[in-house]
C-alpha cells in the first residue's frame, strides 16, 4: 500500500519544499516509485527545486477540470523516471481546489506509486486543509527557532485532529556551533516541546542554497555533504532502518571558518 506523506510546518521558509525535493529524490534513487505533489497553488516552487519548471504543461487544476488526464499532467523527472511531479497551478489561488478533489487526485496516484509526498503550503488555511486531506502520515519540518517550533506545535495539533497520527519531526537548518555556544535551541529542546519522534536533523548548509538555485537536489550531488547525508538517513529511517544520528558537533569545519583560519595564519 502506498505511503501518503504530507510535509508541513505551519511557518513559511523553514524548508518544506527543500525537504520534499530531497526526500523524493533520495527515495527515487533507491528505486522507489515516488510521486511528489505540489499543493502550494499560486506560489508553487517544487518544480523549480527539482529543475522541472520548463517541463510543466498541465497542472492539477487542469486535471480536476477535465482538460487533461492525470498521467498527462505528471512531469517525469529528467534523472529518474520513477519520480513524477504533479505541479500546482501558478495562476490560481488555494481556493481553486477542495480537500475532496485533492483526495481524489492522491488516491488515483496511490494506486500506482509507493510513496506520495505532498508539499504543503505555509499557513493553516485552505491550502493546508487541501494538502493534509488525503495524508496518512506527516513529516513536520521546523527550524530551531521559537516561532517555527510554536507553529509546528499548532500544526501537529491540527494534524492529530484530522486523524493523521503518524507524525515525525525533521529539525532543519541546525547550526551545531550556535547550539554549542547555547545561542540556538538544541534538537532536544525542540523535541521536548513538540514530543513527536525525531526522524532527522539537517544541519545548516550553504550548498542547499546552491542546489536549490540549480534545480538539483543535494542528495544527487557526487560529493557528500552533511545535509545530503542527513536526507539519505531520513529516508532510510522512513523505510524502517535503524540509522544512528550523525554527530553534528564539528562546529569548526565549514568553509568559512577554514578560510578564516587560513587567513589569520597568513596575516599573523
Amino acid at each position: 500500500m502506498a505511503r501518503i506523506i504530507v510535509i508541513t510546518s505551519g511557518k513559511g521558509g523553514v524548508g518544506k519544499t527543500t525537504c520534499t525535493a530531497n526526500i523524493g529524490m533520495a527515495l527515487a534513487k533507491r528505486r522507489r516509485k515516488v510521486a511528489v505533489i505540489d499543493a502550494d497553488f499560486g506560489l508553487r516552487n517544487l518544480d523549480l527545486l527539482l529543475g522541472l519548471e520548463n517541463r510543466v504543461v498541465y497542472t492539477a487544476v487542469e486535471v480536476l477540470s477535465g482538460q487533461c488526464r492525470l498521467e498527462q499532467a505528471l512531469v517525469k523527472d529528467k534523472r529518474f523516471n520513477n519520480l513524477v511531479l504533479l505541479p500546482a497551478a501558478q495562476n490560481r489561488t488555494k481556493d481553486a481546489v477542495t480537500p475532496d478533489q485533492m483526495r481524489q487526485l492522491v488516491n488515483a496516484l496511490a494506486r500506482v506509486y509507493e510513496y506520495i509526498l505532498i508539499d504543503c503550503p505555509a499557513g493553516i488555511e485552505m491550502g493546508f486543509q487541501n494538502a493534509i486531506a488525503a495524508a496518512k502520515e506527516a513529516l513536520i519540518v521546523t527550524t530551531p527557532e521559537i516561532a517555527a517550533v510554536r507553529d509546528a506545535d499548532r500544526v501537529i495539533g491540527l494534524l492529530e485532529a484530522n486523524n493523521v497520527k503518524r507524525i515525525h519531526l525533521i529539525v532543519n537548518r541546525l547550526k551545531p556551533a550556535m547550539v554549542a555556544a547555547n545561542d540556538m535551541m538544541s534538537v532536544e529542546d525542540v523535541q521536548e516541546i513538540l514530543a513527536v519522534p525525531l526522524i532527522g536533523v539537517v544541519p545548516d548548509d550553504e550548498r542547499v542554497i546552491v542546489s536549490t538555485n540549480k534545480g538539483e537536489p543535494l542528495v544527487l550531488s557526487e560529493t557528500p555533504s552533511m545535509a545530503g547525508t542527513a536526507f539519505d538517513n531520513i529516508i532510510r529511517r522512513l523505510e524502517g532502518e535503524k540509522v544512528p544520528f550523525q554527530a553534528l558537533s564539528v562546529p569548526d569545519d565549514n568553509f568559512f571558518s577554514r578560510l578564516r583560519k587560513m587567513l589569520s595564519k597568513k596575516v599573523i
Binding site: N54, V57, C68, Q72, N91, T93
Partner: protein, 268 residues
C-alpha cells in the same frame, strides 16, 4: 541563423480549447466595455475553473493599470456581468476603481435580477440583456471560422501567476517574468524579456509567431507544438522569432534574419 531549440517536445502537446476565463476591458465605439467572465461554468464539470471574486478583482485591477494610456479622461464604461452575481459592495468597488482611473461607470448589463437591483441602488442604468456587440465569449467560440479579436495591447510587467488569455494577437510592452503566461489565439509580441510561458495560436494555428526582444522562455508553444529553452542559456540575446518549421518543430530565428527568410506560412 536558424537555431533549433535543444529539447524534444514533451509527449503530449497541449490543445487549449477552453473558453477564456478572463476579465476583459476593451474599447468599443468610443466607450469602454468591461466584461466579467460568466459564472455559469461553475455549475458543471469545470467548477474549478470558475474565478472567485478575489481573482476577478485582481485581474480587473491589472487590466486597468496595463491600459491606462489608452483612454481619455471621463470616458464612460459599460460593465457586462452576464449571469454573474455582484453585490452592492462589489459594484461599488468596481465603480470606485474606475473613478480613480478617471473613468465613469454608466451602464450595467446583467441577466441576474439581484445584480440589477444592486446596480440600480448604486445609481447606474441597467440593461437586462447583453448588448449586441458583446457576445459572450464561450458562445463566440463555437462558431467556425470566427475572425480573431483585435490585438490586445498591454503595458505591464507580467509577474509570476499572471495569465493573459486573448482570442487574438497579444502585444506586451514589458517583461513576462517566469511563472507568468500569455495564451493567445494569434501571435505574441513581447517588447521586453519573455521568460515565462507563451502559447501562440492556441486554437491550432501553427502559422502563429512568438517574438521577443529577449527570448528566454520557460516554455513556448505554438498551436500544439511545445519547446523548452536550451539548458545552457546563450551568452548574448538578440530579438528573436519563434515559428513552427515545416518539419513540425519549433525553431528560433533572429528577428533580423527572419524577415529575409522564405515565409513559414507555406508550411500551412
Amino acid at each position: 541563423m536558424t537555431s533549433e531549440t535543444s529539447s524534444t517536445p514533451p509527449s503530449t502537446p497541449p490543445v487549449e480549447v477552453n473558453p477564456p476565463i478572463q476579465v476583459r476591458l476593451k474599447s468599443e465605439g468610443g466607450r469602454l466595455v468591461l466584461t466579467l467572465p460568466p459564472e455559469s461554468e461553475a455549475t458543471d464539470a469545470n467548477a474549478s475553473l470558475a474565478l472567485s471574486w478575489g481573482e476577478i478583482w485582481q485581474q480587473f485591477k491589472q487590466q486597468l493599470d496595463a491600459k491606462e494610456r489608452f483612454w481619455q479622461p471621463a470616458t464612460s464604461v459599460d460593465l457586462v456581468v452576464n449571469d454573474r452575481l455582484l453585490d452592492n459592495r462589489q459594484l461599488q468597488a468596481i465603480g470606485d476603481a474606475l473613478t480613480e482611473a478617471q473613468l465613469q461607470l454608466k451602464r450595467v448589463f446583467t441577466s441576474r435580477r439581484q445584480t440589477a437591483v444592486a446596480a440600480a441602488t448604486a445609481g447606474y442604468s441597467i440593461e437586462q440583456q447583453s448588448p449586441a456587440p458583446v457576445t459572450p465569449l464561450n458562445q463566440a467560440q463555437t462558431e467556425a471560422g470566427q475572425a480573431m479579436d483585435e490585438p490586445l495591447y498591454l503595458q505591464m510587467t507580467l509577474r509570476s501567476g499572471t495569465e493573459i488569455r486573448h482570442s487574438g494577437t497579444v502585444v506586451v510592452l514589458g517583461d513576462l517574468n517566469p511563472g507568468s503566461s500569455v495564451i493567445a489565439e494569434g501571435d505574441i509580441l513581447v517588447w521586453g524579456r519573455l521568460r515565462g510561458v507563451a502559447h501562440a495560436g492556441c486554437k491550432g494555428n501553427a502559422r502563429c509567431l512568438i517574438m521577443a526582444l529577449q527570448l528566454e522562455p520557460t516554455q513556448i508553444r505554438i498551436a500544439d507544438v511545445v519547446a523548452r529553452a536550451p539548458e545552457t542559456p546563450p551568452a548574448q540575446y538578440h530579438p528573436e522569432v519563434a515559428y513552427v518549421a515545416p518539419q513540425g518543430n519549433i525553431r528560433i530565428a533572429r528577428a533580423s534574419d527572419f524577415v529575409r527568410q522564405p515565409a513559414p506560412e507555406k508550411t500551412g
